[in-house]
C-alpha cells in the first residue's frame, strides 16, 4: 500500500516536471522578454545588465530549475497584462471556477450514474428510450452552442435566469468570494453549470448504462438470481458496485476536464473565473499567466488521477495485497 502510494506520487511528480518544462519553454518561444520590459531608448548595456540581473544569461537547465523552484513556492512572476503577481490573480479568480466545476461535476456524476442505472434497469421503458435519444444531443452538440441556446431560451425569451456573471457574491475570506450563499448566485450558476456538465453527464450516463447491462449479464448475477436474492439487492449491492469500478476512472478524468474546459463556458457566460482570464491572457500573450495556468490544470489532473488510483484500491479487493498470501 505505502509502496504503491510512493510509486504513484513519484510518477505524478515526473508528470508535473514534464509539464513544467513545457510551460517553461513557452517563455523561450515568444521573443526576448527584455524587449517587453525596457523602453525603446534603453542602451545595449542596460539590456545586458537587466538580462544578467534576471538570470537570463544562466544556462537553460539552471533557469529551468529556478523556474521549478519558484513554481513550487507558488511564484509565477508578474502578469504582463495586469502587472500583478500571477499567483494573486489566480487565487482571486479560482473560487469562481471551482464553484462552477464543483456544481457541474456533482450534477454530472449524480445524474449520470442515476440515469445510467435507471436506463439499464428499465431498458425497454419509454422513458429510458426518451432519455437515451435525448442524450445523443448532449454528446453531439458543442458546449458553446448549448450555452447560447440556454441563454436564448431561459434568459432572453423566458427571462428567468441571468445570462452572465456570478450574481451577488459573499466574501468568505480575503481571497475567497462565493456565490453559493446567495439566491442570485445560485440562479447565475444554473445555466453555466448545465452547459459545462451536460456533455460529461451524458457520457457518464451512457457509460454507466453499458457497464451495468454488461454486469447484469455476468454469471455471478445469474447465480445471485438463482439463489433468490432480492431484486433490489441484486441491482444495488451486487451489480452497481461492479458497474462503478470502470466508471471511476472516466469520472475522474471528466472532472478534470470540467475544470480545464471551463474556458469555453466561462467565455459564453462571462463567468469571472480563471478560464476567462486565460482567454484574455492568450490575446495579450501573457506568458507568465499562461504557464501558471498550464501547471495548475496539470496539477488538477495529476491529483485527480492519484485520488482515482487510491479509490480503486479502496473499492476493488482484488488490488489489495493481503498479508495472508492467497492460498491455492
Amino acid at each position: 500500500m505505502i509502496a504503491m502510494l510512493i510509486r504513484r506520487i513519484i510518477q505524478a511528480a515526473m508528470v508535473m516536471l514534464v509539464v513544467a518544462f513545457i510551460s517553461f519553454s513557452l517563455f523561450q518561444f515568444v521573443g526576448d522578454p527584455i524587449n517587453n520590459m525596457v523602453g525603446q531608448e534603453a542602451s545595449q548595456q542596460d539590456r545586458a545588465e537587466l538580462r544578467d540581473r534576471l538570470g537570463l544569461n544562466d544556462p537553460i537547465p539552471i533557469q529551468f530549475f529556478r523556474f521549478v523552484g519558484n513554481a513550487v513556492q507558488g511564484e509565477f512572476g508578474i502578469s504582463y497584462r495586469m502587472a500583478r503577481p500571477v499567483s494573486d490573480v489566480i487565487a482571486e479568480r479560482l473560487p469562481a471556477t471551482l464553484e462552477l466545476a464543483l456544481v457541474s461535476g456533482v450534477l454530472a456524476i449524480s445524474l449520470g450514474i442515476g440515469l445510467g442505472v435507471y436506463t439499464a434497469l428499465r431498458r425497454d421503458g419509454w422513458l429510458s428510450h426518451f432519455i437515451m435519444s435525448s442524450s445523443l444531443i448532449g454528446v453531439s452538440l458543442p458546449t458553446f452552442l448549448i450555452g447560447i441556446l440556454l441563454i436564448y431560451v431561459f434568459s432572453v425569451e423566458l427571462q428567468w435566469l441571468p445570462s452572465f456573471g456570478r450574481g451577488e457574491t459573499v466574501q468568505v475570506t480575503e481571497n475567497w468570494s462565493t456565490g453559493l450563499l446567495t439566491l442570485s448566485g445560485w440562479k447565475s450558476l444554473i445555466l453555466p453549470s448545465i452547459t459545462l456538465g451536460l456533455f460529461q453527464l451524458t457520457l457518464l450516463m451512457r457509460l454507466v448504462r453499458a457497464e451495468m447491462l454488461e454486469v447484469l449479464r455476468t454469471d455471478y448475477i445469474k447465480f445471485a438470481r438463482a439463489r433468490g436474492i432480492k431484486q433490489r439487492s441484486i441491482h444495488f449491492r451486487h451489480a452497481l458496485k461492479n458497474t462503478l469500478l470502470p466508471v471511476i476512472t472516466i469520472a475522474g478524468l471528466q472532472l478534470g476536464s470540467i475544470i480545464a474546459f471551463a474556458i469555453i463556458t466561462e467565455t459564453v457566460f462571462q463567468w469571472p473565473g480563471v478560464g476567462l482570464l486565460f482567454i484574455n491572457a492568450i490575446r495579450f500573450v501573457d506568458i507568465p499567466f499562461m504557464s501558471a495556468y498550464l501547471l495548475l490544470i496539470a496539477l488538477v489532473f495529476v491529483i485527480i488521477n492519484l485520488i482515482v488510483d487510491l479509490l480503486y484500491f479502496a473499492v476493488d479487493p482484488r488490488l489489495r495485497v493481503t498479508k495472508r498470501s492467497a492460498s491455492r
Partner: protein, 324 residues
C-alpha cells in the same frame, strides 16, 4: 413408487426469431424423485442447460416457455409471478453454474454472499447466520472455514470456489439442485472431489440433483438415473446401469460406444456419423433419423414419443409394441 419431487410435462421452450420461432425444447417430459441424482447428458446444444434454466425460471429472454407444465410436488411453478418464484429460488430449487471462477461476485466476501443468501431464506440473526455460514463452508471441505470466510473469491482456487458455490446453493436447504456442468471448468483431479462433495452434501441434506453434464464418467460415478437429450427432445431415460451397459436408443448406443475404455484397447472408437441438426432444420419424424444406422420408413414420418419398455423409457420406433 414415491411421488416425484419435480415433474416436467411436455415442456416446450421457444425463441422467437423474426417471422419464425425456434423450438429449443420440444415436449420434454421427465420426473425427478426426492433425493435422487438424475443425470442429463447430450451434445452441446441438445437443450440440457436450457431445461435447467426453464425449471428455475431463469430463461434468458426472448426465450420463454411456450407450452407444458412444471410441477414442484403439488405446486405448479412455470407460471409463478416473479416475486413468488424468487422466494422459491435458493429455498426449494437451487442452481450451480459451470464456471466457479465467474459464479462468485468478485467484490463481496464469501461471508457477505453466504450470509445474505442465508438471511434471504431463513429467519437468522447476523450472528447465527455467520455461524451457519462457517458450518456450511466446513461441511463442503474448506479448511479453516472460520478464517477463510472473510476472504474474497479471488483468494480461492477454482476447486475451492466451486465448494463455496455448493455451500451457497445449499444455504437455503433446497429440495432440488440443478447443477449445470459443475465440473467442466475444473482440473480432472479436482472434478472427482467436487462430485464427491456434491454427492455427500446432497445425501446428507436429502437434496435431489439434476446433474447436467456431457462427461459420462461423472454420470456413471454419481447418478441414479440418466436422461439422454438430443435436439431438444429426450431420447431415453433409464437407470444409470442400464443406460451405460445396455443402452436402447441408437443414439445412446453411439454415445456409449464413443467413450474410450481404460481396460479394453480398441482400434477405433465408434463414431456417430454427422452432427446434431440445427434448431431451424430439425428433420421430420425422429430428429435422429438422418444419423441413425437402424432407421426405417416410419422414423422419417412419425415422431416417436417416450415408450415405456421393460428397461426404461425410450423414444424410438424400434421398441414400439414392446411397451409394458
Amino acid at each position: 413408487m414415491t411421488e416425484p419431487l419435480l415433474s416436467v410435462r411436455d415442456l416446450v421452450v421457444e425463441f422467437p426469431k423474426r417471422k419464425t420461432r425456434l423450438t429449443a425444447l420440444d415436449h420434454v417430459t421427465f420426473d425427478i424423485y426426492p433425493g435422487e441424482i438424475l443425470g442429463m447428458v447430450g451434445e452441446s446444444g441438445a437443450g440440457k442447460s436450457l431445461t435447467g434454466a426453464a425449471i428455475i425460471g431463469l430463461l434468458e429472454p426472448p426465450g420463454h416457455i411456450a407450452a407444458g407444465e412444471i410441477w414442484l410436488k403439488e405446486q405448479r411453478i412455470d407460471k409463478l409471478p416473479y416475486e413468488q418464484m424468487r422466494r422459491l429460488r435458493g429455498k426449494r430449487i437451487a442452481m450451480i453454474f459451470q464456471d466457479p471462477l465467474t459464479s462468485l461476485n468478485p467484490i463481496l466476501t464469501i461471508a457477505d454472499q453466504l450470509i445474505e443468501t442465508l438471511q434471504t431464506h431463513l429467519p437468522l440473526s447476523d450472528k447465527d447466520a455467520r455461524a451457519r455460514a462457517i458450518q456450511l463452508l466446513d461441511e463442503v471441505g474448506i479448511p479453516a472455514a472460520s478464517k477463510r470466510i472473510d476472504d474474497y473469491p479471488h483468494q480461492f482456487s477454482g476447486g475451492m470456489r466451486q465448494r463455496v458455490v455448493i455451500a451457497l446453493a445449499l444455504a437455503g436447504e433446497p429440495e432440488l439442485i440443478i447443477a449445470d456442468e459443475p465440473t467442466t471448468a475444473l482440473d480432472v483431479s479436482v472434478q472427482a472431489q467436487i462430485i464427491d462433495v456434491l454427492k455427500r452434501m446432497c445425501h446428507d441434506y436429502g437434496t435431489a440433483v439434476m446433474l447436467v453434464t456431457h462427461d459420462m464418467g461423472v454420470i456413471a460415478e454419481a447418478c441414479d438415473r440418466v436422461a439422454v437429450m438430443y435436439a431438444g427432445r429426450i431420447a431415453e431415460i433409464g437407470d444409470v446401469r442400464q443406460i451405460v451397459k445396455d443402452p436402447q436408443h441408437p443414439y445412446t448406443q453411439g454415445l456409449m460406444g464413443s467413450i474410450p475404455s481404460l481396460t479394453e484397447r480398441v482400434d477405433r472408437l465408434v463414431q456417430i456419423p454427422g452432427s446434431m441438426p440445427r434448431l431451424d432444420a430439425i428433420p421430420a419424424g425422429c430428429a435422429f433419423n438422418p444419423r441413425c444406422t437402424q432407421q426405417f420408413d416410419r422414423c422419417k414420418q412419425q415422431r416417436p414419443d417416450l415408450i415405456k419398455t421393460k428397461k426404461g423409457q425410450v423414444a424410438c420406433w424400434l421398441y414400439d409394441g414392446e411397451s409394458s
